[in-house]
Amino acid sequence: MIEALLSNKLALAYFSVGPIILIYFGIKSWIEYRERSDFIKSVQEMMGTKATLKDQIKTYAMYFIAGLIVLVAWPVFVAWVFYEKYKEYRDMLERRKPKFFCTNEYLIRKISAIKAEQDSLVIDPLGMAPSIPFGHLNTAWCEFLAKIEEGDDIWLYEIPKGSITGKDHNRATSLMRGYAHVRRKKIIGEFVRQSG
């Protein structure tokens, strides 16, 4: 049978990839073992009991069977490695997404910075807020404006109470109003003027 396999170039090519995959997984596992955190090492040391002969045989048998499976069905493992890498990349992109309350469906209309400021003058009879646009939030508003570039738009938005919104899909506990920084139809910044 082995002679027949060796004479078949396609089968030879197929089965020669298996050992490479096996070596890859072996090195990866070894690196992961070496790079364990001190905490994991200390827990393992604390819990570690001497392995019996039966345990050792079981472990080596498991490695042997796993190795055989990789040798024969290596395309499955290659696909699995690619899928894992894709998942890591997708999760990384998701984590890097900025966290905004507003999404496109809550945008109402474009508004100029001047009009937004005219609409937002704060006056407190007890003098406990600066009488300027957005009062105590004026610094945050200026930081928001500083990021606006030519071609960008400011949109007024309003999120009704109870709406499921934002990156974490939380329910808005109150009406939320503010301004969104929109670039090429995408929200890239947000200023919350009022919320609960």
Binding site: P125, M128, A129, H136, A140, R177, V192, R193, G196
Partner: protein, 160 residues
């Protein structure tokens, strides 16, 4: 999550506790996070609020005191956030309801502000100005009958 400590609110001479944290949205806007020293206060600060005003001018929500932790055992006050307003600030950004529980606690829930008290006073604000209030009377939730639980959650005792 542990039940969270409540901030205080003085309204009509009555000292209330609040199950709402009106300062949060300001802190989010400014990108400020305080240091939490206990699981009972993940936000890392404690505020004292007051509703001040008159029939003519309207009643408004003010933050009058703050104790916030910027690192372990290092606390700052209102002047840290609002150096020009150390005696209090108008919370003009706050729109929504503040829930103030009153009376005895009927049911404890080990998380957030989910515990149930005899009654809740809800104060409705629009841009920091009081617009209305309502009181909701509560009852302790009835214990769930064994037969209403899925089989794997039922207790096995014969007397249950």
């Amino acid at each position: 999550m542990t039940a969270q400590s409540m901030e205080s609110l003085v309204f009509n001479g009555e000292r209330l506790r609040m199950c709402t944290t009106p300062l949060d949205i300001y802190l989010v806007q400014r990108g400020i996070r305080f240091h939490s020293e206990t699981t009972a206060n993940w936000r890392g600060y404690d505020g004292s609020w007051e509703i001040k005003g008159s029939e003519e001018l309207g009643y408004r929500l003010y933050l009058v005191e703050l104790s916030a932790s910027i690192e372990y055992k290092k606390y700052v006050g209102l002047d840290y956030l609002f150096p020009d307003y150390p005696n209090g600030i108008f919370a003009h950004w706050f729109t929504g309801e503040i829930r103030c529980p009153r009376g005895d606690r009927l049911h404890y829930v080990h998380g957030g502000y989910a515990s149930i008290y005899e009654e809740d006073l809800f104060l409705e604000f629009h841009e920091g100005v009081l617009k209305g209030s309502r009181v909701v009377k509560n009852e302790a939730p009835k214990p769930i009958a064994q037969e209403d639980l899925p089989w794997f959650l039922r207790s096995g005792g014969k007397n249950d």
